[in-house]
């Protein structure tokens, strides 16, 4: 792996892997849902769409056609703390991908017609994923406002239709100017590349992107909860109840060693039929039909900043009450903290986590995205190779101590009350 910085501040990581003749190029910008100003909910995501609408040498539709016409696939996504853009392509298309990313890094062409078109598209995206289906946005949009008090952490990242419709070209220009700076971005190239050649091509295409510094990060710090918080809402399409609960965890970056036990704990609790909560609640008590757990509201433990949380979510059979489910979670966490892990329980959980970490990086795109996230958030892309070992070094005592902190009086939870369904 090679890591360097261009004169304009752009951070670059190269991860050659010649096992298949394909490459992935990713650009991460250090701006996300938590950077949005009040009155502009959903703007980071809307702006992500606008980055595909054309730039100096690329008219509307050109980006898509150039990637797919090179045999590749593309996408972008907006997260709490970053926004990513990426392409996976046959190896011979490296320079084309760099050209495409550099052109829009210099600046998208923002037009009123394209803005209105993409507001419509985003509204349809929200209807598909949230409004027209049961459990839409649960829990990633529903839990943060229960747990957090400040706008940055608590607001709806998909955005209200009012805010989306109120967005202007001036908003977009300002957003680009502030956040889409070379000094605020990370470029990664993974796959079948010659690193020396890649470096030359990166200099050629990105070298003259104007240097703009990274803006200050949004102030997101909030104190931990001092008492339980619990809310509920009616989902008119849901046929059965659901519940999600979250607890604050240590800073994933500044306190990484203290954070990793929580990542392991989430798997101990919910990974497969032999995990604590699946075994107890799904298979034995039958109080829930499924239960899952992960770190970060969008499930990205290694690319999220403080403040964040361990999240559990469960679906209940129709007609069942949520209280006993939360009580069982409390009981199981207490049992884990008090009686400890069973022999072999930690080792098998860590073995499965190693598989997941390796599998994510088998795909050239997965490798590229993971590395970019680690560079952006942790400043350490080599963590991609260290994580299986670091996860494997977490001790039973650390997991038990982590479990002990997940008490009801630090818990934020939200309940889905079924409003109909079939």
């Amino acid at each position: 792996m090679e890591r360097f910085r261009l004169d304009n501040g752009l951070r670059v990581v190269l991860a050659p892997d010649r096992s298949a003749p394909v490459i992935a190029v990713a650009v991460f910008y250090d701006v996300g849902i938590r950077s949005e100003p009040p009155g502009r909910t959903g703007f980071a995501h809307l702006f992500e769409h606008l980055m595909f609408q054309g730039s100096a040498h690329l008219e509307k539709l050109a980006h898509f056609r150039h990637v797919q016409g090179a045999g590749g696939t593309f996408n972008g996504s907006t997260h709490l703390d970053y926004t990513d853009y990426y392409e996976t392509l046959p190896a011979g298309a490296l320079e084309r991908a760099l050209f495409l990313e550099a052109d829009r890094m210099r600046g998208p062409i923002l037009t009123e017609a394209n803005l209105r078109n993409q507001v419509d598209v985003v509204k349809e995206e929200i209807r598909v994923n949230v409004l027209n289906r049961p459990y839409g946005g649960f829990p990633w949009l529903k839990l943060p406002p229960v747990m957090f008090d400040t706008f940055g952490n608590a607001h709806d990242g998909y955005g209200s239709f009012d805010d989306l419709e109120a967005a202007t070209i001036d908003d977009a220009s300002g957003f680009f100017e502030t956040y889409y700076a070379a000094g605020n971005a990370v470029l990664t190239v993974a796959g079948d590349v010659d690193p020396d050649l890649a470096r030359i091509l990166i200099e050629k295409h990105f070298g003259d992107v104007p240097p703009r510094p990274a803006p200050p990060r949004p102030a997101l710090a909030e104190p931990d909860l001092t008492g339980e918080r619990r809310e509920s809402y009616v989902d008119p399409l849901a046929p059965a109840p659901a519940v999600a609960a979250a607890w604050r965890v240590p800073d994933p970056v500044a306190e990484r060693a203290a954070f990793l036990p929580y990542v392991v704990l989430a798997e101990v609790l919910t990974d497969g039929d032999a995990s604590r909560l699946v075994e107890r609640m799904v298979l034995r008590d039958r109080s829930v039909t499924s239960v899952g757990g992960y770190l970060g509201f969008m499930g990205e433990p290694y690319a999220v900043r403080d403040p964040t949380a361990l999240v559990l979510q469960a679906r209940l059979p129709a007609g069942r009450a949520v209280d006993p489910v939360l009580a069982t979670v409390d009981e199981e966490l207490d049992r884990l903290a008090t009686d400890g892990l069973a022999p072999g329980e930690l080792g098998r959980t860590q073995a499965r986590m190693a598989t997941h970490l390796l599998r994510d990086t088998d795909a050239v795109l997965g490798r590229s995205l993971t590395i970019a996230g680690l560079e952006l958030v942790h400043g350490d892309p080599a963590l991609v190779n260290d994580l299986p070992r670091l996860v494997g070094e977490v001790t039973a005592g650390q997991v038990e101590q982590a479990a002990a902190t997940l008490r009801a009086d630090r818990r934020a939870s939200v309940e889905v009350v079924p409003g109909g369904g079939s």
């Binding site: 892997d17 096992s19 298949a20 003749p21 394909v22 040498h57 898509f64 016409g69 090179a70 045999g71 590749g72 696939t73 593309f74 392509l89 011979g92 298309a93 320079e95 084309r96 760099l98 050209f99 078109n117 419509d120 598209v121 985003v122 349809e124 995206e125 209807r127 598909v128 027209n132 289906r133 049961p134 459990y135 050629k204 008119p236 399409l237 046929p239 990974d271 497969g272 039929d273 032999a274 075994e279 298979l283 039958r286 039909t289 679906r315 059979p317 129709a318 098998r348 959980t349 073995a351 499965r352 190693a354 598989t355 390796l358 599998r359 990086t361 088998d362 795909a363 369904g421 079939s422």
Partner: protein, 439 residues
């Protein structure tokens, strides 16, 4: 800075990885594919189950790993997890599929547990009851999802009395499935004759073959592979079927069009015609109804292959108020390609996409395992990829035009719309005859 789009360096011919194949005396075919990128293995065991009872097989899939005389469901999961592994089971009208992955050092143990389950699944009553209830709950949730309801309506409309017409059981049928029946179903269907095991990963094929023989050689249930399903009937055109979902803020549009299987001479040209129409982002239809008109977020059009037949399915979730305009543009784009040849540039762009994504699909262990397994289910092997790539490379504009005329004609489409009928029916009825779906 450069203002000129850089040229592409030519890709070499498609690189298909090495694989080794062997058939055990029991009739199990084993295919081992090498990709030593990460120290993992992907596993796919495909067991043909044509015309197996729907509810019974769904419950069987959910309880195959629920226990044996020696191991509980938790024991099985823990033993797999200990070697970084996990196995899941799914079904469709063609097959039961056990799929999973794990650390390559644990392959022998994963195979041992797989064999243990295949030869000794006991379908314990408590666990069967649990999984039955969970399945019923999932069916209820599915029925509140528009994508599921639209698919159900389209299958029913497309397939008539063929087994593909109904792919989700009724809750009452699920509740009636008992352990005895599952044990019978297991004896009848979970057999090695005709089954295909694919392993892909950081593997030494010879050693792996020996491990598989050792572990799975005792999985018998001798006999011949089950008889294939009859071919799907041709689509019968008729009025658009309108399925009412009061209050829906979007309408789900679905069109089924005729298609052909992977070895049919028209297949490469049909794939390219579908791409030009709506099969990728840079297609006419997506550029029209999303990037120009903003009617929808993720429209897609795909050739779906099953063992008994293939179909081209066009899908879009559109805002309720533009349901009819979206259908109009869909028919327009289908009709345009069916009537007027595409440009050479459009064909070239689609061809490069088709060839490039073939290479991308083979660049992971999971992609290789999935492709090898899906192909093997219809009697093909990975070398078919190279032939397919050659065919894609040689298709001309005339062939695409001819094939589009045959398969993409809107007059040949079977159409379904799910949405708020009161709001969308009058507008739809101006474009096409409409009938309300009978429930």
């Amino acid at each position: 800075m450069t203002s000129v789009l850089p040229d592409l360096e030519l890709s070499g011919p498609l690189r298909v990885p090495e694989w080794v194949e062997q058939q055990l005396p029991t009739g199990l075919t084993v295919i081992v594919v090498q990709r030593p990128s990460v120290p993992l293995v992907e596993l796919r065991l495909r067991i043909p189950t044509p015309a197996a009872p729907l509810a019974g097989l769904d419950v069987l899939a959910d309880t195959l790993m629920s226990g044996t005389a020696q191991m509980s469901n938790v024991d099985i999961a823990a033993a797999l997890q200990a070697v970084g592994g996990a196995l899941g089971v799914s079904v469709d009208p063609d097959r039961l599929l056990v799929s999973g992955n794990g650390l390559v050092t644990g392959l022998d143990r994963i195979l041992e547990i797989l064999a243990h389950v295949l030869t000794g699944a006991s379908y314990p009553e408590q666990e069967v009851a649990t999984e039955r209830d969970r399945l019923v709950e999932r069916i209820h949730v599915a029925r509140s999802q528009p994508a599921h309801l639209a698919r159900v309506a389209l299958l029913r409309r497309s397939y008539g009395t063929h087994p593909y017409a109904v792919q989700t059981p009724e809750p009452a049928q699920v509740r009636a499935v008992e352990s005895d029946e599952l044990r019978d179903l297991h004896r009848r269907w979970v057999r090695p004759a005709g089954a295909i095991l694919v392993l892909a990963g950081d593997l030494d094929p010879e050693a792996v073959m020996a491990s598989v023989s050792r572990a799975l050689g005792g999985w018998d249930g001798s006999g011949t592979p089950p008889e294939a399903l009859p071919p799907v009937p041709p689509l019968v055109t008729g009025p658009l079927v309108l399925s009412d979902r009061p209050g829906s803020v979007q309408s789900s549009l679905r069109l089924a069009l005729p298609a052909v299987g992977r070895t049919h001479p028209d297949h490469p040209a049909l794939q390219l015609a579908n791409l030009i129409f709506g099969g990728y982002f840079s297609s006419r239809w997506v550029e029209n109804i999303r990037e120009d008109k903003g009617y929808t977020y993720g429209p897609h059009s795909t050739v779906e292959h099953s063992v008994a037949g293939s179909v081209l399915v066009v899908s879009a979730e559109v805002a309720t108020e533009v349901t009819a305009p979206a259908l109009l543009e869909t028919s327009y784009e289908l009709g345009r390609l069916a009537s007027v040849p595409p440009s050479a540039d459009e064909l070239e762009q689609a061809r490069r996409y088709a060839l490039g994504t073939l290479q991308l699909g083979m660049s992971t262990q999971a992609g290789l395992a999935g492709t090898a397994s899906g192909y093997a289910g219809v009697g093909l092997r990975l070398d078919h990829l190279a032939r397919y790539a050659d065919d894609l490379a040689s298709v001309g504009v005339d062939e695409v035009a001819a094939v589009a005329g045959r398969y993409l004609a809107p007059a040949a489409a079977v159409s379904v719309a799910l949405g708020d009928a009161e709001r969308i029916e009058p507008d739809l009825a101006r474009l096409t005859p409409v009938v309300r779906e009978e429930r």
